[in-house]
């Protein structure tokens, strides 16, 4: 079967979206003018929250994520710009993981909500580039195998002037998630593998006007029959 770059990109997105939360707090949480508080005995510090992470709320009225500001304590999680006040409620969650804002290739960005573009200032978002790469025939004869070496690039945008810990945590988690030899089954039946001879790597954090950026590069290999 000829290679399907569509199947590859869709599998890569699915895998990226399955990145487990890096930090998560679930319990009895409240929103305040300064951020979030908790009264369930849990600890935001123990859960791993640090300045610069993007707290994505679930179970709150205000669902727009917020950037964590210092100082984080066991019971308080300050958020830049504060939150819409909401009293304690059980079963609420705050998490930091793969950013909810994604700039998939050739999609409209920023996305619109009720016709209004989402404000991306001070937000995390991921921008993908899929590089189909070269191919080479590896076996001859009927059912010969062709090896493709595409590359998947994820650009991690984060707020500037918030230190390295939070964006590094996201980049490191993605590298671990796309570890060498990770196998992804495609809808075509082919298996896409993360390369080990040139393993995934990330670039340095660079700061521009309005954002910080880390680029994660994931080399891939796929062998398929060429019919």
């Amino acid at each position: 079967m000829p290679i399907s770059h569509t199947a590859i990109v869709l599998a890569l997105r699915t895998h990226a979206l399955a990145l487990p939360a890096i930090v998560s707090s679930t319990g009895t949480l409240a929103a305040t003018a300064a951020g979030y508080t908790r009264s369930d005995g849990g600890s935001f510090v123990t859960d791993g929250w640090i300045e610069g992470m993007e707290a994505v709320p679930a179970g709150f009225t205000q669902t727009i994520p917020g950037i964590v500001a210092p100082p984080v304590t066991a019971s308080t999680l300050p958020i830049v710009g504060g939150r819409t006040v909401q009293a304690d409620g059980a079963g609420r969650t705050l998490s930091f993981g793969f950013p909810p804002l994604r700039e998939w290739e050739n999609d409209e960005f920023p996305p619109k909500v009720n016709g209004v573009p989402v404000d991306t200032a001070g937000r995390y978002y991921v921008d993908e580039d899929y590089l189909p790469g070269p191919a080479a025939v590896r076996t001859t004869g009927p059912g010969r195998q062709v090896e493709h070496t595409p590359t998947y690039v994820l650009k991690l945008y984060s707020p500037p002037a918030r230190g390295i810990l939070a964006p590094y945590a996201l980049a490191d988690a993605l590298l671990a998630h796309f570890a060498p030899h990770t196998a992804l089954l495609l809808s075509t039946g082919d298996v896409l593998r993360v390369r080990g001879d040139v393993a995934p790597y990330r670039g340095q954090l660079t700061v521009r006007e309005g954002y910080a950026l880390i680029v994660v590069t994931i080399p891939l290999r796929l062998r398929t029959n060429s019919t």
Binding site: T149, T151, V153, V198, Y211, L213, V215
Partner: protein, 116 residues
């Protein structure tokens, strides 16, 4: 001829072949980054005024270490297809350094095969 002289001759041939391979690999890497390459899949630099293409300079910074780099401020923006990157060229594209890096083993194999 002695065993020692045979070994010395073999070492000399190896050094010669290594030098030839090194030169060929560096040439190929430079070509891949600047104008693109079918072995690595790198698209090469986009060319509008030619400033970006000519800004990539090659310098041997230490024995067996060659640096190919640009000092243009917008070179990394084009390389990573970063927010705000504008492509005004029908040729070239982004990620040429990344593609050259991930295609490096294939590039070296290709040049070694050419040397025979």
């Amino acid at each position: 001829m002695s065993f020692a002289s045979d070994v010395a001759a073999h070492q000399a041939r190896l050094r010669e072949r290594f030098a030839a391979l090194e030169m060929a690999v560096v040439d190929h890497v430079e070509m891949s980054i600047k104008v693109g390459c079918s072995v690595t899949g790198a698209p090469g630099q986009p060319v509008d005024t030619g400033a970006l293409l000519s800004s990539y300079q090659r310098e041997e910074v230490a024995p067996h270490v060659t640096e190919i780099a640009s000092t243009l401020v917008y070179a990394p923006v084009i390389e990573t297809n970063e927010r705000g990157a504008v492509f005004k060229s029908a040729v070239g594209g982004a990620h040429s350094i990344a593609m050259t890096r991930v295609g490096f083993p294939a590039l070296v194999d290709h040049e070694a095969e050419k040397l025979g």
